[in-house]
């Protein structure tokens, strides 16, 4: 029954995702029967799962009472952490787009195609994008135009073009536009030089014009011209060309991760070599002693400490507010084929909210918290001083995220903080070690504290209080 569906899984009549006793299941409805059978029998499922492009599943008995719609129940391999397109860097969105097109191309070989092309069908797992919506594949009939073309342009092509040709921060528009960026809006924001590309001109600008001219209310025709245009047929070869053109266009969009505030952090002289080595040592020791399965590295920059945690066997989400840092981190993951690190974009003082119908389609960040350990290194001064968040509030929020916390206190005597305070009133009388320890003691107990050699900073290992 659709009212058991979780998250955004209520639109597709072919089936839905639901949870039962902590496990995730997907119900396949009767109306999808023939398509599901073709997916499984034609070899497409085999091909996609063996290449690691589609989440594998097992067929199981329905847990609890099955509805009359029910055809099969699937238990998909779980994805440890769900992330959303507005949390991805440029290359993550680009790779998700390329995967979608690759799926479409492979599907056509088995007489199937993607009935939607939403970025929410893709997740990141073991360092690479993977398709999670098994029921997105529909039987293909020669001549059918691609139903997912509009969605592909809005979810992938428009935001990628905006990110590389206008400003990389425009990916945030995906938060307010759940079904991708409207093409007329993207068109109005792109600079004139974008239209030198024939492909962008056709897939975005021309596409937007056709949408405006033929979409219901906009098409105010003369009296008697009311006949609705019917879908033209599109040959398989033409569809193949369309897909290939989109692929080459997406591939050609490039963005250089530089020129943002934090991109050059480690090349500056914020650290003595000695303190860096000591800090890395301490972090490694703490991670070893906790042995977490999953770690959140807040303010991860390019992932130096995320990699330390990953080396000790954890799965790490490496969050940072700077798109260039997330991008560099992801490129490193891709190049080294790392499987334990997921770089993501996050502004900690304004984290991803819950959005969609009834505030429940895409969940907020804290709801997805699954970490055993949070790293908050070289971070507290940005939250408490630059953003005026009281230390008590920071402690309370971190306590929601994980049981253990490794946090670096950066005092006013540190050169970085002196810079922050140089141009503003010092309205932080309690921002010192005693104040820090008092604020955090309300939610955590201090297991260890070590001054970092050759610096003014202190590294803490904290454990959340049982009553917190």
């Amino acid at each position: 029954m659709i009212d058991r569906a979780i998250g955004a899984s209520f639109r597709d009549p072919s089936g839905f995702i639901f949870e039962h006793e902590g496990r995730l299941y997907r119900q396949v409805n009767q109306r999808y029967r023939e398509d599901y059978d073709q997916l499984m029998n034609s070899g497409l499922y085999e091909t996609l799962t063996s290449k690691g492009l589609l989440v594998a599943h097992r067929e199981v008995d329905p847990p609890g009472a099955a509805s009359p719609d029910h055809y099969k129940t699937l238990q998909p391999d779980p994805i440890p952490f769900i992330s959303y397109p507005y949390e991805w860097s440029f290359s993550q969105l680009k790779d998700a787009a390329l995967l979608t097109l690759r799926l479409q191309k492979l599907a056509l070989r088995h007489d199937m195609f993607l009935k939607d092309a939403t970025a929410y069908n893709i997740q990141f797992h073991r360092g690479r994008p993977i398709m999670i919506d098994t029921l997105s594949f529909e039987r293909y009939e020669d001549g059918t135009p691609w139903v997912g073309y509009r969605q592909f342009c809005q979810h992938f092509l428009a935001p990628l073009a905006l990110m590389c040709k206008r400003d990389v921060r425009l990916s945030a528009m995906l938060r307010t536009h759940l079904d991708g960026i409207p093409l007329d809006l993207a068109t109005s924001l792109l600079p004139a030089r974008a239209w030198l590309s024939r492909a962008l001109w056709m897939h975005l600008r021309l596409h937007a014009r056709y949408q405006r001219n033929f979409e219901g209310a906009g098409a105010v025709g003369k009296e008697g011209e009311g006949e609705a245009p019917k879908a033209r047929s599109l040959s398989r070869a033409a569809l193949g060309n369309l897909i290939e053109d989109l692929r080459a266009t997406i591939k050609g969009l490039q963005w250089k991760p530089a020129g943002t505030e934090w991109a050059e952090y480690y090349s500056g002289d914020s650290y003595e070599d000695d303190s860096l080595a000591h800090k890395q040592d301490l972090v490694r020791q703490h991670v070893k002693s906790i042995a977490p399965k999953s770690v959140w590295d807040l303010g991860a920059n390019t992932g130096v400490y995320s990699r330390i945690a990953a080396e000790e066997g954890a799965c790490v989400n490496a969050f940072d507010v700077d798109p260039a840092c997330v991008e560099r981190n992801y490129r490193e993951v891709r190049k080294e084929k790392e499987e334990s690190i997921l770089p993501l974009l996050l502004d900690l003082v304004n984290p991803s909210p819950a959005i969609g119908w009834a505030h429940a389609e895409r969940s907020n960040l804290a709801e997805r918290a699954n970490a055993d350990l949070v790293l908050a290194l070289a971070l507290i001064h940005h939250i408490a001083i630059s953003n005026n968040v009281p230390l008590h509030n920071v402690a309370a929020y971190f306590a929601r995220l994980a049981e253990h916390l490794v946090i670096e206190f950066v005092p006013k005597s540190d050169p970085k903080v002196m810079t922050l305070l140089a141009t503003r009133e010092d309205v932080f009388p309690h921002y010192d070690r005693e104040g820090f320890e008092a604020a955090f003691a309300q939610h955590f107990e201090i297991l260890k504290s070590d001054p970092i050699r050759n610096s003014e900073r202190t590294l803490y290992l904290l454990r959340r209080r049982a009553d917190s």
């Binding site: 939607d116 492909a199 596409h207 219901g216 019917k230 033209r232 047929s233 033409a238 080459a248």
Partner: protein
């Protein structure tokens, strides 16, 4: 003269648009294709533009293939082998 698919002047593209507009106006109504399971709104405009876009894409795709053939005949190093294009050519 090779078709540089990236930089067809706007005037060329507009004339293509006019041709397509005339062609679609004069031909009989296209096939009505039925969609059983596609639940999202594909967009009427998106359907109509696909035929045109796919036609031009076909020219562009062919152009790219010939352009890289010419490049290899002339011995020009092809910039960054596009492995994605051939990832599934089993």
């Amino acid at each position: 003269m090779l078709i540089q698919s990236r930089f067809i002047p706007i005037s060329c593209a507009i004339s293509l648009l006019v041709i397509a507009g005339v062609a679609s106006a004069s031909s009989p109504a296209g096939n009505v294709v039925e969609f059983q399971l596609a639940y999202i709104d594909p967009g009427a405009g998106s359907f109509l533009v696909q035929a045109l876009v796919a036609m031009v894409a076909g020219i562009a795709v062919t152009g790219r293939v010939y352009w890289s053939k010419i490049k290899s005949i002339l011995g020009l190093a092809s910039a960054e082998e596009d492995e994605d294009a051939h990832a599934d050519d089993d």
